[in-house]
Symmetry: C2
Subunit: 394 residues, 2 copies
């Protein structure tokens, strides 16, 4: 039987789909990392990276997954026995705890619960109870649940206790605002494969001078992820990477950051806000529940609670195998309970329309009653209300 559902749509929160110009540059001949042709791209990337981080500091780059940049923060800021506080609300926040434990820190772990935000009041209380803590690790966008934390408020609380704050913004950076300098966030880590619209393989740590100085005072116990070494290389003229950089991904990053510059960071955030709202309105129009708060800031991933009467593990599988739409299901204790639709990076209105349409078809196939088109219509209304531009962007 022929099927009209053969085209493939990637709707996961990393890797995310690549813009055509980014894909194309990946096929260009490889460059020697010390030759001017690459050094120029590398220097431009280092400069351009300041835009999504909204910082004037150096964004340190590592050939690694985002977890590598997270490890860099732990390895550079913690020592065995050092006190640290991890404030988590999902799988990726818990990674801070695993990391801190692996490095032998005396970790206080606050678990706000999957689907909940980390409350600034709770952080305040915990820092009051644990006055020795001088570094807090938390998450901007918790990819496992779609929750986006109030990093500005958490930063203010941490600083009021004299503590640094380190934020995992792997899925959030470039989708929702985290103006590092304005909010004074000490360290922001991220990765290439989410809203920055690149393949996985580059990890970033945007490190304030204060955090860099703290790391420099306690050398050793790390090498590849050493901030001092990487900063020293990147601050040379021309900049240099201490290890062979992931050349092709930098070539991709240069193009992708150029696209973000051209669209404008505020426009990028506004687009993500619309995609998030449309997905939430579609969810509600289908009489489905959002997992986590119905939050205007949650514009990275939308987690939808699946009807209890159906086998939820089948939802991502049917959407992918029958309709060509790849979303993620729930992880760990949420397996089979939620569907996660990503909208961080190279996503537009019709990606949401397509995905909600596939979700409607899938739920119906699994025996869940719904009005076909109800979710899609709600998403369309959000886009229409926002005003259709006179012409599509170039």
């Amino acid at each position: 039987m022929s099927t009209p559902f053969v085209k493939q749509y990637l709707m996961t929160a990393g890797p995310t789909p690549l813009p055509p110009a980014v894909s194309q540059v990946m096929a260009e001949p490889i460059l020697y990392h010390r030759a001017p042709a690459f050094v120029e791209i590398y220097a431009r990337c280092l400069e351009r990276l300041r835009l999504p981080f909204e910082t004037s500091t150096d964004v340190l780059c590592f050939a690694a997954s985002g977890s590598g940049a997270m490890e860099s923060a732990v390895a550079n800021l913690l020592r065995p026995g050092a006190p640290a506080l991890v404030a988590s609300c999902g799988k990726f926040g818990e990674r801070w705890k695993e990391l801190a434990d692996a490095y032998g820190a005396a970790t206080v772990h606050h678990d706000a619960g999957w689907g909940h935000k980390v409350e600034p009041g709770d952080l305040d209380r915990l820092l009051f109870e644990n006055p020795a803590v001088d570094v807090v690790f938390t998450t901007l966008s918790e990819t496992s649940t779609g929750v986006v934390n109030d990093v500005r408020a958490l930063t203010d609380v941490a600083h009021s206790h004299g503590s640094m704050i380190v934020v995992d913004a792997v899925s959030g950076l470039g989708a929702v605002p985290i103006p590092q300098d304005e909010w004074g966030v000490d360290v922001v880590v991220s990765g290439s494969q989410k809203a920055l619209m690149c393949p996985p393989g580059l990890a970033f740590a945007s490190v304030s001078e204060g955090a860099l100085a703290r790391a420099a005072k306690a050398p050793g116990g790390r090498f590849y992820f050493d901030w001092t070494k990487t900063a020293k290389g990147q601050r040379k003229d021309p900049p240099d990477s201490p290890f062979t950089p992931a050349v092709s991904i930098f070539m991709a990053l240069d193009v992708a950051l150029g696209l973000i510059e051209r669209e404008g960071l505020d426009e990028v955030f506004a687009r993500h806000a619309l995609l998030g709202r449309a997905t939430r309105e579609a969810t509600k129009a289908l009489d489905l529940e959002l997992f986590g708060p119905d939050d205007d800031a949650a514009n990275v991933v939308t987690a939808i609670r699946l009807p209890e009467a159906i086998d939820g593990t089948k939802v991502p599988k049917i959407m992918r195998d029958r309709y060509g739409v790849t979303i993620a299901g729930g992880q760990n204790q949420l397996k089979g309970k939620i569907a996660r639709i990503a909208h961080c990076g190279y996503f537009g209105a019709f990606d949401i329309v397509t995905t909600i349409s596939a979700l409607e078809l899938t739920l119906r196939e699994l025996g869940h009653e719904l009005d076909l088109g109800a979710g899609v219509g709600a998403a369309q209304r959000v886009f229409l209300d926002a005003g259709v531009p006179a012409s599509a962007p170039a």
Copy 2:
């Protein structure tokens, strides 16, 4: 003025040029790393990687530069205060010493000298003098000088003292033989961007069961590069990566390893041997000196001592800027003293012809007298003597 020298030739030992089929696959749509389409590629790569390592063990993969895999060996095998021996003969061998020091090991460092091999007799003596040492770190192909060490003999010596051996084969793997299982090498580390003909960004550690067990007995102090965690993921069915893998580079690796399979590993080694010999014969025909021993095994990088009367730092620059041929010069104390021509990976006879031709033109421009074509002719004779195949490979 128009120039016929506008085409670009990459003759460095990493990144190395990509075969067209490898470049092309890099431009394909990105895949979700947990979807069957990628898992299939990932599983095939894990299987295919056993060929160049000549092992039945698991080759652990990290999104990182080759130095990341080196760090994994140090982080998994050494503890603060633990005795270790580094036997180096150039810049990359010295990286083992920096790594072991960063992890606080009690490091004995044997420096055989840049351009020299590590002598098995010296290793024997040092292990006799330092009986507490139970792990030796050394190098297969020392990219900074072109020297290729006798890893088989060094492994036998290490084992005769009850010590493990860890070998940096970043530039050597897939160019010169290092049959891990046959020689009993405990750990072989490598990277994607050398003879494996892929972009930089994947690092490999092929770890024997003994080394894996040793690492498992001393957990902590590492996370991203933890062997136990990575092995556990890769041994699942289907295999899984603990962190988001560098999807596009795995797609490239799958194609590149397929090319190596099709050519045949022995044929790959024979091709590299010819390229190395042709480069050495060209060097001698130009009355230039090889840096390091005139060694039939040195088939990864050829280091050529530059005439003292010319400004050697200009050689790579003129070759690149005027002739489009990118080679590497000397590093550290060898800056300006040597030229390094790589032939590891996607290289053929006319890459050597082109590079020697550009070298001849460059040296002449710098005032060094030579017979134009003398080096090229010597290289041609090597290829002709080896027998021209009836038809070019597919």
